[in-house]
Every structure is written in structure tokens, then in C-alpha cells.
């Protein structure tokens, strides 16, 4: 007597197996959609903008005549913005992460701060722009300066760095902490000489990723009132400035079709900076992240 009728089972199973296989390829297709769009976006932009990337493009200021238009002001403005945003954001968010992980008592207030930070992460960037406009531009009287924009951007990227730093600090095993305390080090000595060095790769990765988000962010700058056409570069943090995404945003709206190619060229520069920052972050994560 045959216990298993192979034909019968094969018949019943083949449909299910076929469905499994088809759906596998459909799921693969879904995964590829993102990659295809990314490739299309890059290729389309490169075809459009590549030939406009000349030396003059980097040394000329913005202009209403496409032949003379360049990104000097925007590029230098972006560097100023980053150089000002980075220290403010780093102090605020690494300090917050250290407090939450090392000092904060386990109580309702700490829970409230944590929930508050994750809510801040979900606030649209344009709302941060409104906050910056009221608080820094008008009330503090900073105008549309580098500092006002940097303060706004710092608050916006704060949650990203805090979460990344918290994870990095948390991944330092407590045995190392205990060893340091046991050797007679104080809490602050343990933090600065043991915990921070050990968690630095994670923290730096978080900072770079957050800054690369800030570089591409346009909405808060528009709301703060950062000008798009400027024929000078800032000399202090109280000067006004322009930034690459602002430059792109103003060129997108130009009716002259030649500006489409110039916009594409500026986008290539912006994307190049972002890819560079991202690869540095990935490099640091792979090379320096220690496993305990």
C-alpha cells in the first residue's frame, strides 16, 4: 500500500509553489523600483547638467543670464551654514544624549523628555522654519543671517543626532564603565576618557548623516527668508547668505529652459557633497566601530 500519492501531492503543491515563486519576483520588483528611480534620477540629472560644470560655474555668482550663472555665493554660503550649524548642533545633542544615558534619573520627567524628542523628529521642517522666523529672525533680531539659519537647522537635526548618540553610548558595555569606576575614576572622568572615545564612531556617523540632511534642507531657509540672489559672500555669522538648495529652488522656477540644465548642474554639485559625506560616514562606521 502506498502511504503517499506523489502525483496527488505534486498536483496540490505545484500551484502553491508557483504562486510563491511569482510573488517572490514581484517582491523583488518592488525592491528594484527604488533603485531604478534612483538610477533614472541620477542619469537624467547628469545628462542635463554635466556639460555645464565648468570652472566658471564655481567661480561666478548667480545671474539672471544663464551663461554667467554660477554657484559661488551658494556654495560658500552652504559652507558657512554648516560650519556654524555643526558646533551648535553637536554641543546641544551630544550633551542631551549624555544626560539621558548617564545622568538622567528613571522618572516621568525623563520619559517626557524622551517622548518629546521623538515627537520633535516628526515635526515638518517647514514648521521649524516658522519657529526660526519668529524666535531668531524677529524676536532675537538676528535677521536672515547665517546664525539665525544655523540655530534653526540645529534644532531641526537635534533629534537625529541625539538618537544616534544615545545608541552609541548605550552600546558601550557596562563592564568597561564599572572597570573605570573601580579604578577610582570619577563619573565625568569615565565619560570623557572611556565612554566618549568608545562611542565616538557612532556619534560622528550620526552627526555626519544629520548634517548631510541639513545641507539639502530648503523649506526652513525659505521660511526664514534667506535671499536667493546675492552677489557677495558672508564675512561673519551675522551676515546674510544664500545656500545651494535655495539656489536650486530659485533656478527651478526660472522660465528660461537653459536654466533647467544649470539647475541640474547645481544639483550634481549638491549630490556630490552629500555622497561624499555619506561615504565618510559609512567608512567611519565600518572602520572604527568596535565590537565589545
Amino acid at each position: 500500500m502506498e502511504l503517499i500519492n506523489k502525483n496527488e501531492i505534486g498536483k496540490k503543491l505545484s500551484g502553491r509553489l508557483l504562486l510563491n515563486k511569482t510573488m517572490k519576483y514581484i517582491f523583488l520588483l518592488c525592491t528594484l523600483v527604488g533603485l531604478v528611480v534612483l538610477a533614472t534620477l541620477l542619469i537624467d540629472t547628469i545628462i542635463d547638467g554635466w556639460s555645464y560644470l565648468s570652472a566658471e560655474f564655481f567661480t561666478n555668482f548667480s545671474s539672471s543670464r544663464p551663461d554667467n550663472a554660477g554657484i559661488r555665493g551658494a556654495l560658500i554660503g552652504t559652507l558657512w551654514l554648516m560650519a556654524t550649524t555643526a558646533p551648535i548642533a553637536i554641543i546641544l545633542s551630544v550633551g542631551t544624549a549624555l544626560y539621558l544615558e548617564e545622568y538622567a534619573p528613571k522618572n516621568k520627567i525623563t520619559d517626557f523628555i524622551k517622548i518629546n524628542i521623538s515627537n520633535l523628529a516628526g515635526v515638518p521642517s517647514v514648521v521649524f522654519g516658522l519657529l526660526g522666523l519668529t524666535l531668531f529672525v524677529r524676536m532675537a533680531g538676528l535677521g536672515n543671517s547665517v546664525l539665525a539659519a544655523a540655530l534653526t537647522m540645529s534644532l531641526m537635526i537635534l533629534p537625529v543626532i541625539v538618537v544616534a548618540s544615545q545608541e552609541a553610548i548605550r552600546s558601550v558595555p557596562s563592564s568597561i564603565r564599572e572597570a573605570s569606576i573601580g579604578m577610582g575614576a570619577t563619573k565625568w572622568q569615565t565619560i570623557t576618557r572611556v565612554i566618549l572615545p568608545a562611542s565616538l564612531p557612532g556619534i560622528i556617523t550620526g552627526i555626519i548623516l544629520a548634517l548631510s540632511r541639513a545641507i539639502g534642507e530648503t523649506a526652513p531657509l525659505v521660511v526664514i527668508g534667506i535671499p536667493t540672489i546675492l552677489l557677495f559672500t558672508p564675512t561673519s555669522v551675522f551676515d546674510t547668505f544664500s545656500a545651494l538648495p535655495m539656489q536650486i529652488f530659485s533656478w527651478v522656477k526660472m522660465p528660461n529652459p537653459e536654466f533647467q540644465s544649470i539647475t541640474a548642474a547645481a544639483i550634481l554639485v549638491l549630490l556630490f557633497i552629500l555622497f561624499l559625506m555619506n561615504s565618510v560616514a559609512i567608512y567611519i562606521r565600518n572602520k572604527y566601530s568596535k565590537r565589545f
Binding site: 502553491r16 504562486l19 510563491n20 517572490k24 514581484i26 517582491f27 523583488l28 518592488c30 525592491t31 523600483v33 527604488g34 533603485l35 528611480v37 534612483l38 534620477l41 537624467d44 546641544l92 550633551g95 542631551t96 544626560y99 539621558l100 545622568y103 538622567a104 517626557f112 523628555i113 518629546n116 515627537n119 520633535l120 516628526g122 515635526v123 515638518p124 521642517s125 517647514v126 514648521v127 522654519g129 516658522l130 519657529l131 522666523l133 524666535l135 534644532l155 537635534l158 533629534p159 577610582g184 570619577t186 563619573k187 565625568w188 548623516l209 540632511r213 539639502g216 530648503t218 523649506a219 521660511v223 526664514i224 538648495p245 536650486i248 527651478v252 539647475t263 544639483i267 549638491l270 555619506n278
Partner: protein, 308 residues
């Protein structure tokens, strides 16, 4: 040999005033720094609320909530927020309808079918997709996607809801894919093995075991993506145009809440005018919408954490 004995050395070290001072001050300084994040939230609430109240002393809240027309710049301005909400919803619905199946499909592939090597290659590429500035996506929508759609479907306007909606969808795909993948990967393997051992195919395991087990994590990722789509600004202000309307037509130009804020801010709304204050009323509405979404998402992910 030193003349000190150990006890004295310890006492000397401990007694140093600077060390004691630092140990006492650091927690206080860090607490002050931490309070900045709370002050930011309070700042957002206070500025939005106070200016919104100013707006409602000039415009009746009833008109704001019930009128279906928004024309802030005309000589006889209409303030019906519904027109802007409708614009936002049109974009969000298109984006979510596009991104949820594709994002979930990608998450299923990455967590259930893909080999470790494939996953290690694809995940960073999806991260790049998430890091592309939205102004770049806006340019892409206007100069590539819109012409493409119009070549297939000529009645569509230059500014429409479809093209920015799809591109916002592309923007939120990585978010859905990566958060859902995390939720699905944390379903214990023993559950999968149980299903496979009983003779299910991989697909049946996914739909009958993994997805139900990860449902709250997946829901949280979708709700967060909706929140992101509602708050997205540059794509819609570049590719959706600037004509607020409350219709369901997705082929014509529209304006979202974020788009209106950018339009007012990039032109010169004189400080203190009705239009200036409307900026905050719209900002407040937007804030309430996204806050609601974030709270719902947190509720979902808390449920998910309790499961295992």
C-alpha cells in the same frame, strides 16, 4: 619610594576642589542643554498658538473651518483651510497608495527572501534614496515625471497632483521598507520554522505568520510615512503649483498647507498683515495633523514592543 602613603594620596586627589566642582557642575550643565529640546517644543507651540490667536481675531474660526475656498492674495480674501487640507490629502493619498505596496513588497523581499549579501548591498542604496534633498526630488518631478505622465495622458496640467504625489511616494518608500523590515526581522525565527515545518510555502508563512506578528510595527511605519508625506514641502511647492482648490481632480494644479507657507514666505508678506498671520494658522493645522500621526505611530510601536 614616595613619602606619601596611599591613603594620603587618595585623600589629596579626592579633595581637589576642581574635580569636585566639575563633578557637581556637569550634570547641571547637561540638564540645561537637555532642556533645550523641551524648550523647542514649547517654543513651537507658543509661537504657533499666539500668532494663530492673532489670526482668529481678524478672521472668524468658523470661516476657517467651514469655507471651502482659500484665496489669501485676492482683494476679497477667503480663508477656508479645507481647500489646503484637500490639496495635502490628494498628494498624501497618491503617495501612500504608491509607496505602501511597493515599500511592503521590498520589506518582505529583504527580510524573507533575500540573502544576506543582497540585503547588505540594497539597504545602503535605499538609505541614499532617503537622503536625497527634497528640492532635488521636486526638480525631478517637474522636469522628468510630469513630462512623462503628460506624454501618456495629455489632459494632465503642467502642475498636477499625480507627479508630485508619485515622487513623494518614492521619497517615503525607503522609510516604509526599512522600518517594516525591522519589524518583520524581529519576528522570532521559531515562528517561521513552525509554519514551514507544517508544510507552508514561504509566501504562506509571510502572509499568515510574519505579517500578522509584525503588524503593529508595520502600521507604525505606514503612519510615520503618512506624517512625512503631509509635512513634505519642496516637492509639492515645485511640482504641484499654487492654486488652492477643494476638488477631487488630480489632473489640475493644487496647493498644500506646506506649499502655501512656502509661497507666502518666498514672496513678501508684510509683517502684521492677515496673510502673515495666516502663515501661522496654516502652520498650526499642519503641526496638529503631523503630531496626531506621530502619536498614533508611537502607540502602534509600543504595542509592537510588548509582544515579545
Amino acid at each position: 619610594m614616595s613619602d606619601y602613603n596611599i591613603r594620603e594620596m587618595i585623600d589629596n586627589k579626592k579633595g581637589r576642589r576642581s574635580t569636585v566642582f566639575i563633578e557637581k557642575m556637569v550634570p547641571i550643565i547637561l540638564l540645561v542643554i537637555t532642556s533645550v529640546s523641551v524648550l523647542t517644543t514649547i517654543g513651537i507651540l507658543v509661537t504657533l498658538l499666539s500668532e494663530t490667536v492673532m489670526f482668529f481675531t481678524r478672521v472668524s474660526p468658523i470661516e476657517f473651518l467651514t469655507s471651502t475656498e482659500w484665496s489669501a492674495f485676492s482683494s476679497d480674501p477667503q480663508w477656508g483651510i479645507f481647500a489646503l487640507i484637500m490639496g495635502t490629502l490628494k498628494i498624501t493619498v497618491i503617495a501612500v497608495a504608491f509607496a505602501v505596496p511597493i515599500g511592503l513588497g521590498a520589506a518582505i523581499y529583504l527580510s524573507e527572501y533575500a540573502s544576506d549579501r543582497v540585503r547588505r548591498v540594497i539597504k545602503p542604496i535605499l538609505e541614499i534614496l532617503a537622503g536625497i534633498p527634497t528640492v532635488v526630488y521636486g526638480f525631478f518631478a517637474l522636469t522628468f515625471v510630469t513630462p512623462l505622465i503628460r506624454s501618456i495622458w495629455p489632459e494632465v496640467n503642467l502642475f498636477n497632483a499625480i507627479s508630485p504625489g508619485l515622487v513623494v511616494g518614492v521619497m517615503i518608500i525607503p522609510m516604509i521598507a526599512s522600518l517594516s523590515e525591522d519589524a518583520m526581522s524581529s519576528v522570532p525565527n521559531s515562528m517561521r520554522e513552525g509554519a514551514l515545518g507544517l508544510g507552508s510555502t514561504r509566501l504562506e508563512t509571510v502572509f499568515k505568520v510574519v505579517l500578522p506578528a509584525a503588524v503593529s510595527g508595520i502600521m507604525a511605519s505606514i503612519v510615520l510615512a503618512v506624517s512625512r508625506a503631509i509635512g513634505e514641502t519642496m516637492i509639492v511647492s515645485i511640482a504641484a503649483g499654487s492654486t488652492p482648490n477643494a476638488s477631487l481632480n488630480i489632473m489640475e494644479s493644487l496647493q498644500t498647507m506646506t506649499g502655501f507657507i512656502v509661497q507666502v514666505a518666498s514672496g513678501d508678506a508684510t509683517y502684521g498683515s492677515d496673510v502673515y498671520f495666516s502663515l501661522y494658522a496654516v502652520g498650526m493645522t499642519l503641526f496638529v495633523f503631523t503630531l496626531l500621526m506621530n502619536v498614533i505611530a508611537q502607540w502602534f510601536s509600543r504595542k509592537f514592543r510588548e509582544e515579545y
